[in-house]
């Protein structure tokens, strides 16, 4: 019944897609928070089952994100909506959903490979994770702004770059400490692998932000 009323109203379809875009953004930011919480659980050495639950939760969010993205894509094309920025919007949604997929991959790798992170590195791993997650959250905010308040996009994108640089610095610092320690080489390389993976999350977020900056310029022309 609800659906029928939506379709009958003048902008029912538009409202429905707007809702789906918001839901997709919610999925990404929820997933990012789940990812951060999951890493925290792992670093605290809690019950491995809780980590598995988190993997499932992130995966569910990613699946939902993909479903929403495809639905939005289909509606935008079949209803010929936003012809001039349709391509940009779809790329943006794809890119942003990819961030969640990447977070899921990283967390799955952590639970599968079970890297041995010593107490002296845990704080910086936490910091690296939260900085990367912040960059994702800012990208989500800038994407939301792209739809509703284009002038605010630039502010959020500035923060994305800031967090990405922070993440880079933390990663370098962490890697220096790891490689100057007495750990075995295989341990060092294993930790380096995860530092790079966490840092990559921020890099990818920045890449999405760079494209978003271009879409924004195109829209304001």
């Amino acid at each position: 019944m609800n659906l029928k009323i939506e379709n009958l109203s003048l902008f029912g379809k538009t409202k429905h897609i707007e809702g789906m875009i918001d839901d997709l953004m919610d999925c990404i930011s929820n997933g990012a928070m789940k990812f951060e919480a999951g890493v925290e659980t792992y670093l605290n050495g809690s019950d491995p089952n809780r980590c598995d639950d988190t993997v499932h939760q992130i995966r569910d969010l990613e699946v939902e994100g993909n479903r929403l993205r495809r639905a939005i894509e289909g509606q935008l094309y079949t209803d010929m909506l936003i012809p001039d920025s349709r391509g940009d919007v779809l790329s943006l949604l794809e890119d942003i959903n990819y961030l969640l997929g990447l977070a899921e991959d990283i967390f799955l790798a952590i639970t599968v490979e079970n890297p041995q992170i010593g107490d002296e590195y845990r704080e910086e791993f936490r910091l690296l994770t939260s900085t990367s997650v912040k960059s994702i959250e800012e990208v989500v905010l800038s994407a939301r702004a792209f739809f509703r308040n284009i002038t605010a996009v630039r502010d959020h994108l500035g923060k994305v770059s800031f967090h990405e640089e922070e993440a880079d610095q933390i990663a370098v610092r962490l890697k220096r400490r790891i490689f100057s320690s007495d750990l075995k080489l295989e341990n060092k390389m294993h930790l380096r692998y995860f530092v790079d993976k966490l840092d990559r999350l921020a890099d990818e977020a920045e890449d999405v932000g760079d494209w978003l900056a271009i879409y924004t310029i195109k829209r304001s022309l």
Binding site: L10, F11, T14, K15, I17, E18, I21, M80, L81, I82, P83, D84, S85, V89, F146, F147, R148, N149, I150, T151, R219, L221
Partner: protein, 501 residues
């Protein structure tokens, strides 16, 4: 009903087709080119509203006729319509938006040259003014509205998709209104000439409503315009909406709105009357054309964005199309009239005769014109406007253009006979009861000049009297002029009897 009438009718249909193919771009070009509305959707909306406009509002104003109504022989009008249509077709083929009215005026100038009639210089100056003033006004309004809309949008935080919906709705509404007025304003040019010679008759559907013969004629013309929209308008649409400069959907809407506002502000006598009657300053009325206003609005937005996106070469082509349209139409018309007259033995114009009789000179003197110098031409019947003008200029070389026009108007012989049979043909809804009574009082009388009938009518009824020239009285006088024209044409004693125009 002769077969020739049907052949002549095809020229009107061809003109309608060309008009649809070219002018639909003014209302839906930017919407289609910015991919906001599919071409088929735009064509359907455009056609439906065109037909409604032509049949509902066009037929109501049928007495005003179109510019082609000035031509006094049907074969000549046919050829003028055909020449204008051919010119617009060529321009459409080249993807250039042109003014159909200017093509028609060009063709009429060709007819004037051929028939030795005088071309109204104001018609020419109007065309020149339109080329310059209209794009400039379009550009100014386009830029201002775009700036304002962007400012509002940046503050209103409308969702991208919602904005898309609003813009689409705005484009459809503006396009529908535009199509309605396109049909209402242009059907006179397309079919007006055939009002007195069409083969239709009124018919009623189950006592519910009647479709008048004129409505049927205009429906036919509107269908021709619609076919033009469907079959051939996409190319011009793409030039307007994408060729000059790619437009965003909001830009597309701004262009349509800016062009409508320019047309409304600078050509609406109703608005002028409204402002004047409320003691407000009026906006000067200038000749405006849709095609020129739309192109101007696109340029305005382009310049606002720094002018980098504008393709000046396309713009150059469009401007050259504007200049060549009336020229080509007049040349084609002249040549075609020659062929029609000499190869097909058709009467392409009826000679107009002029005489400075005693009564004409008296009338001129009363209106304050010194007539002493015109005595040598007195009572000489001269055929053709140009010959008559040359004759009066010979004896009075210092005549101003205005006086010259006035003398030509008064001296033109236009035999009128107030035939009681024709009085019964008067449409009661179009003339007031007082006006009809005044006409009836003159039953059986004849006149040589239109002003004589006007004097007689205005002398017997206040309803026929023109008011003092002022902005406030303009709509009244304009309507009265149309009514007078209707009466003159109704009681005109045509030479040869086949034409009454």
């Amino acid at each position: 009903m002769e077969i020739t009438i049907l052949i002549f009718l095809t020229s009107g249909l061809f003109l309608g087709w060309s008009l649809g193919a070219n002018d639909a771009a003014n209302v839906f070009g930017t919407a289609v080119a910015s991919r906001m509305i599919q071409f088929t959707t735009a064509a359907i909306i455009c056609t439906v509203f065109l037909i409604l406009g032509a049949v509902i509002s066009g037929a109501g104003a049928a007495h005003g006729l179109g510019a082609l109504g000035k031509l006094n022989a049907l074969p000549g009008a046919f050829m003028a319509a055909f020449s204008a249509a051919l010119t617009v077709y060529w321009m459409t083929k080249a993807g250039l938006p042109v003014s159909t009215t200017q093509a028609i005026v060009g063709a009429i100038i060709g007819w004037n040259l051929f028939s030795g009639s005088i071309t109204d210089t104001s018609a020419l100056s109007k065309i020149f003014a339109t080329w310059v003033a209209c794009p400039i006004l379009g550009a100014i309004f386009g830029a201002l509205i775009y700036k304002a809309v962007m400012l509002i949008l940046s503050r209103s935080r409308i969702h991208l998709l919602r904005l898309d919906g609003y813009t689409r709705l705005g484009l459809i509404l503006a396009g529908a209104f535009g199509s309605y007025s396109l049909g209402a304003n242009n059907i006179g040019n397309v079919m007006g000439v055939f009002i007195s010679s069409h083969p239709f008759s009124d018919f009623s559907i189950g006592n519910l409503f009647t479709i008048t013969a004129i409505q049927q004629l205009f429906l036919l013309g509107a269908i021709a315009i619609g076919v033009g929209v469907f079959t051939y308008s996409k190319r011009v649409m793409m030039t307007v909406g994408d060729g000059i400069m790619p437009l965003t959907p909001v830009g597309a809407w701004v262009v349509v709105i800016a062009h409508s506002i320019v047309l409304f502000l600078f050509s609406s006598i109703e608005l002028e009357h409204f402002l004047a009657s409320n003691g407000l300053p009026t906006i000067p009325l200038i000749p405006v054309s849709s095609s020129q206003a739309v192109v101007g609005a696109v340029i305005g937005i382009g310049l606002l964005k720094g002018g980098k996106g504008i393709r000046w070469r396309v713009l150059g082509n469009i401007a050259s199309g504007w200049v060549t349209t009336p020229i080509i139409a007049s040349v084609v018309c002249f040549v075609m009239l020659f062929i029609l007259q000499n190869v097909f033995n058709q009467v392409v114009y009826h000679e107009v005769r002029y005489v400075l009789s005693g009564s004409v000179l008296d009338h001129l003197e009363k209106s304050g014109i010194a007539v002493a110098e015109l005595e040598p031409v007195k009572d000489r019947e001269i055929v053709g406007g140009t010959h008559f003008r040359d004759a009066i200029l010979e004896v009075k070389p210092t005549l101003t253009r205005e006086l010259e026009d006035k003398i030509l108007d008064v001296a033109e012989i236009y035999p009128l006979s107030i035939d009681p049979g024709k009085i019964r043909e008067i449409e009661p809804g179009y003339l007031s009861a007082g006006q009809i009574e005044a006409v009836k009082a003159l039953s059986g009388l004849t006149y040589d000049h239109t002003w004589q009938l006007y004097d007689a009518l205005s002398g017997s009824s206040i309803d026929w009297k023109k008011r003092e020239k002022s902005k406030l009285n303009k709509p009244f006088n304009k309507h009265l002029d149309e009514q007078l024209k209707y009466v003159y044409e109704l009681f005109h004693q045509a030479e040869g009897g086949s034409m009454n125009r």
